[in-house]
């Protein structure tokens, strides 16, 4: 057999049948999904109308995350009548179709892509499709995760399969050692800046190199999560002992003999040494610096110690127009130093960066300091489990003492579907994944960065380099 990439192996192992002569289109078996309250309702309605059951109810999990409030006292009520109806219908659907649900009062509730790995439902070799673009997160485990729309959720629920078009393959190799104070978020932001917001459209990425394998599993999740912001519809890291150790003992992970069998199989999950990728991208870890975005697309980013680029210097007229439009929306001028940008809000949260390591990292920056006057700063843990763990470590107190709000888990102001919203013109340092126009609230201005950089910005009242201004790594 010709040498294959890890991506090819996962697709081949899940191919029920080829749908065209060259095997580009296949009927792909999907191991599991996670459902949320806002992209699933119409899928269930479709099943109800056609009188179709769910093929394998135990291969789905529901968690309420997108529309729930995150105020510090947890309540069952949603933020508005629409959200209320979605949560109700979600509960009804999960009950009627036999799907386990983590509702807003459940102790395991949280953002879907934080919950799935932390309870051991994401395993190497799986294919997981879900109604949320950040399903790519699961690539950190050597599982192929990708986002789907509601029609495909319905297709999955009814058939356990999807009609799938094989992607091209891209290997992103990051060799070397990251400088102190440079984090997984900076690596993926540097990649997106390098290849562009559609640089990986039509591709599945495999991350490789010594700087990737040196990352924790949670750091790898951040990278795979945001790979979709370069257009990738799948991002993989070959699983290793660090991944197996992360999964071991989690409540839904395999145990005993099955565990041993699984690990033996998982050790085979890697690209063949002579596998050929359609595209190769190489980044040097040493030159990656802490990154922030200045525009309204995730590729409009730059190292914190630089200035806002000048559209007049951009030779490509389309890109120049995009830059001008972005700067007008962001209320920024070319040449301005990035660390001179003052902020109104600071948000630590999201499926990209609200796991326990993210909160520990941010707390290191915050400890013993205070949020700048006039800045409203929030921490929204990625899950109820993360929240409890952080509280057990006293991190809640560190944030509260510094003037941060310590809130309940949910997607919150990453996409502002609940009542956590930026006002028009408000500027936010955010550990999230999208700086689109209006993403965090109509007229709101988002600067993406790592959670530690958000923490430093909250304290300084402006964007700042954690290494220089705060002294923390």
């Amino acid at each position: 057999m010709a040498p294959r990439t890890l991506y090819d192996k996962l697709v081949d192992a899940h191919t029920v049948r080829r749908l065209d002569a060259d095997g580009r289109q296949v009927l792909l078996y999907i191991d599991r999904t996670v459902l949320n309250e806002y992209t699933s309702p119409q899928a269930f309605t479709g099943l109800r109308e056609a009188g179709r059951p769910v093929w394998r109810p135990r291969a789905s999990l529901g968690t309420v995350d997108h529309v729930n409030p995150t105020a510090s006292r947890r309540v069952a009520a949603m933020a508005d009548a629409g959200g209320e109806r979605q949560a109700e219908y979600f509960a009804e659907n999960c009950r009627d179709f036999g799907i386990e649900l983590f509702d807003v009062l459940h102790p395991l509730q949280g953002i879907e892509h934080v919950v799935m790995p932390e309870i051991g439902l994401v395993l190497p070799g799986m294919v997981i499709a879900a109604g949320d673009s950040h399903t790519t997160t699961y690539g950190a485990f050597g599982a192929l995760g990708f986002g789907i729309g509601t029609s495909d959720i319905e297709h999955y629920l009814a058939t356990q399969t999807l009609i799938y078009k094989r992607l091209k393959s891209m290997r992103v190799t990051v060799d070397g050692t990251l400088a102190p104070g440079v984090r997984a978020k900076d690596v993926v932001m540097a990649l997106i800046r390098t290849i562009g917001a559609s640089g990986a459209t039509g591709y599945a990425i495999e991350f490789a190199g010594t700087a990737i394998t040196a990352l924790s599993v949670e750091g790898r999740m951040t990278i795979c999560n945001m790979a979709v912001e370069a257009g990738a519809r799948g991002a993989l890291v070959a699983p290793d002992d660090r991944v197996f150790a992360y999964i071991a003992g989690r409540p839904r992970a395999p145990k005993d003999d099955l565990w041993d069998q699984a690990v033996a199989a998982w050790r085979e999950l890697k690209s063949d040494p002579d596998a050929v990728f359609d595209q190769e991208v190489v980044l040097s870890a040493e030159i990656i610096e802490p990154m922030v975005t200045w525009g309204t697309s995730p590729d409009q980013a730059a190292p914190i110690n630089t200035s806002i680029p000048d559209p007049a210097q951009e030779p490509n007229p389309d890109r120049r127009r995009d830059m001008e439009r972005a700067l007008a929306y962001m209320g920024l001028a070319p040449g301005m130093a990035l660390d001179a940008i003052t902020i109104d809000r600071a948000f630590i949260g999201s499926c990209t960066n609200a796991r326990i390591e993210d909160l520990r990292d941010a707390a290191l920056v915050v400890r013993g300091r205070h949020v700048a006057a006039g800045v409203r700063a929030m921490v929204v843990p990625g899950s109820s489990t993360v929240k409890r763990q952080a509280e057990a470590e006293g991190l809640d107190k560190v944030f509260l003492d510094a003037g941060f709000e310590w809130r309940q888990s949910g997607c919150s102001m990453c996409l502002a579907m609940n009542d956590d919203v930026l006002g028009a013109g408000e500027r936010c340092a955010s550990s999230t994944n999208r700086n689109f126009e209006g993403r965090q609230g109509a007229g709101g201005r988002t600067h993406l960065m790592s959670p530690a950089m958000v923490a430093a910005a909250a304290i300084a009242g402006r964007l700042t380099d954690t290494r220089r201004d705060i002294g923390g790594n």
């Binding site: 119409q42 109806r85 459209t201 697309s297």
Partner: protein, 199 residues
């Protein structure tokens, strides 16, 4: 699903890069449990915001547009299918661009929305043509895989045969896949036997 064969109508140019699904369908329109009522949400801030008078879909003849000629990476970001449902409810039948985000592209196919990719040079030509109000009417012939502009310019486009067939026939994908029930069951049984920790 509404079949797509030969459709004529006005095409509107929307050349900005990276128009994301938050812009196409803002969050306040995502609070339903059905697919209805989304036409007001489409490009809401552009159509109804302070710059509305400059937005192409508020100008004649493009307010009647049935096609959009879009910039690169259209539909990036969130997986929300509401973006495609809303475009359909506002009367759009096809989108023409150089590249579409993957999830959005699939969502189009599942809803009878034809997403056509052209080479950059061909798209530039088409954008210039439809930016002129007197030449903005196009005819898209999916069986023949052609776009025809006033004056006789004709552009050919590629589309995968399976996608083309399902658009032309307006197929119910779930129903079609369930015809394969036995094959899926066979596969699943063998797969779970081979990977017993997943059973």
């Amino acid at each position: 699903m509404q079949p797509f064969t030969i459709v004529s109508g006005i095409a509107a140019p929307l050349p900005a890069s990276n128009i994301d699904t938050d812009v196409i369908m803002p969050k306040q329109f995502l609070k339903g449990v059905d697919r209805s009522g989304l036409s007001d949400g489409v490009f809401h801030d552009l159509r109804f915001g302070p710059l509305r008078d400059t937005f192409v879909l508020n100008k004649s003849p493009w307010q009647e547009a049935r096609f959009l000629v879009v910039g690169p990476n259209f539909g990036c970001g969130s997986s929300r299918e509401h973006a495609v449902w809303g475009l359909g409810q506002l009367g759009f039948r096809a989108l023409i661009g150089t590249s579409f985000a993957g999830i959005f592209f699939d969502n189009c196919a599942r809803n009878g929305m034809l997403a056509i990719t052209l080479e950059a040079a061909a798209l530039d030509t088409l954008t210039a043509i439809v930016s002129d109000p007197t030449t903005a009417a196009l005819t898209i012939d999916l069986p023949a895989q052609t776009i025809t502009a006033p004056g006789g310019l004709q552009l050919a486009f590629d589309i995968e045969p399976t996608r083309k067939e399902s658009l032309i026939l307006g197929l119910d994908a779930v129903g079609a896949t369930l015809q394969e029930r036995a094959a899926i069951q066979r596969f699943e049984q063998a797969y779970l036997q081979e990977n017993p920790w997943l059973a």
